[in-house]
């Protein structure tokens, strides 16, 4: 964006991300993209991809980072807070309600069996997510090696997360530097 974008109001930021948060089952990203690009024309496809790449590049929940960066671009820190609050208001209310119900009824044998089936399905979803993320890397020998290394360091050698990153990231950077033109 070379020109100064039209500044959105705090209310518009809150509302747009509120809808994305409420619709986002199993990942908010496609819903955020639909609202920001297709419906409201806040960003072009390329601008959205650029903004999202920042949020993947930095640590933390990607979609929360996206709302913070976009809100800050329009209204500074209060804009970031408005967008994040919009994104999280409904999901946090819903998940706390579910959590309280779980605490109250989770020991009931019937509910317990239901939760077991639910958790098995949720584990399957995260496996699919993992394969989608790792998919492109698995097609390149060095990428495959890094996927295996990160997995082994963490899941098999049980190293702490900072240590895994301290070992894997420099190697991965060296390999990527040789590959990326």
């Amino acid at each position: 964006m070379e020109a100064e974008p039209d500044r959105l109001t705090h209310a518009a930021l809150f509302e747009g991300f509120f809808i994305a948060g409420l619709s986002g089952f199993g990942g908010v990203l496609p819903f955020a993209r639909r609202i920001m690009v297709d419906r409201r024309h806040w960003l072009t496809d390329a601008e959205f991809a650029d903004l999202f790449s920042l949020c993947q590049f930095l640590p933390g929940p990607n979609i929360v980072n996206l709302s913070a960066a976009f809100g800050a671009r329009h209204r500074g820190i209060t804009g970031a807070l408005a967008a994040m609050a919009g994104l999280l208001a409904a999901p946090i209310t819903i998940v706390i309600t579910l959590g309280l119900l779980f605490a109250r009824f989770g020991k009931n044998p019937l509910v317990h069996h239901g939760i077991e089936g639910l958790t098995a399905a949720a584990s399957g979803l995260i496996l699919a997510t993992a394969l989608k993320i790792a998919g492109p890397a698995l097609r390149i020998p060095t990428g495959l090696a890094m996927v295996v290394l990160a997995f082994v360091l963490f899941a098999i050698l049980h190293l702490a997360l900072p240590l895994v990153i301290a070992i894997a990231l420099p190697i991965s950077l060296l390999l990527a530097a040789r590959r990326v033109k």
Binding site: L127, P136, A137, L138, V164
Partner: protein, 171 residues
């Protein structure tokens, strides 16, 4: 005072969550079990509950906070998980656009993706080993994973079917 270790744990995970929150799930599980806040099975169950809500997958932190220390715990864990990373994002986002053509940016991106992939695979392995304590539950996980990759079925449908199969005694 349980709120401080709770806040510190999630603030640390926030900064270490390269590629997103999913890559920190094994570390999160390990830490909450080491603190005796949850058993591995309880963690897996809370993960299932978090996935049944709309919204980003960082909601697992809200649920863990709620379980450990009620509503103040939920607030502290949530803010810990989003505070450090979103502050960093706001600080960096202005400079980001300027470097969009930079080679180092593409290198870092290319370097992060396979690590994230390996970490999320570790998370999936952990959850499957914890949650699926019989072959029927493992079959549910495997079927959901395959159908998610091969079809456009809504994730909520899988969660509902999984819960339904559990209820009727398939799990």
């Amino acid at each position: 005072m349980i709120l401080l270790p709770l806040a510190l744990l999630f603030a640390e995970l926030s900064i270490l969550a390269i590629g997103g929150v999913a890559s920190t799930l094994p570390a999160m599980a390990r830490a909450v079990v080491a603190h005796h806040w949850l058993t591995p099975a309880q963690f897996a169950a809370l993960f299932g509950v978090a996935q049944s809500s709309p919204g980003p997958n960082m909601l697992i932190s809200t649920l863990i906070g709620l379980h450990v220390a009620g509503l103040p715990g939920a607030a502290v864990a949530t803010l810990g998980m989003i505070g450090p990373s979103s502050t960093l994002t706001v600080l960096v986002s202005g400079a980001w656009h300027r470097f969009r053509e930079a080679r180092w940016r593409r290198i870092v991106q290319a370097a992060i993706t396979p690590i994230t992939g390996g970490m999320v695979l570790a998370a999936a392995t952990f959850l499957i080993r914890t949650a699926d304590h019989n072959w029927r539950l493992a079959l549910i996980s495997a079927t959901v994973a395959i159908l998610t990759l091969r079809s456009k079925i809504h994730p909520l449908a899988f969660l509902a079917i999984g819960a339904g199969l559990g209820l009727v005694g398939f799990g």
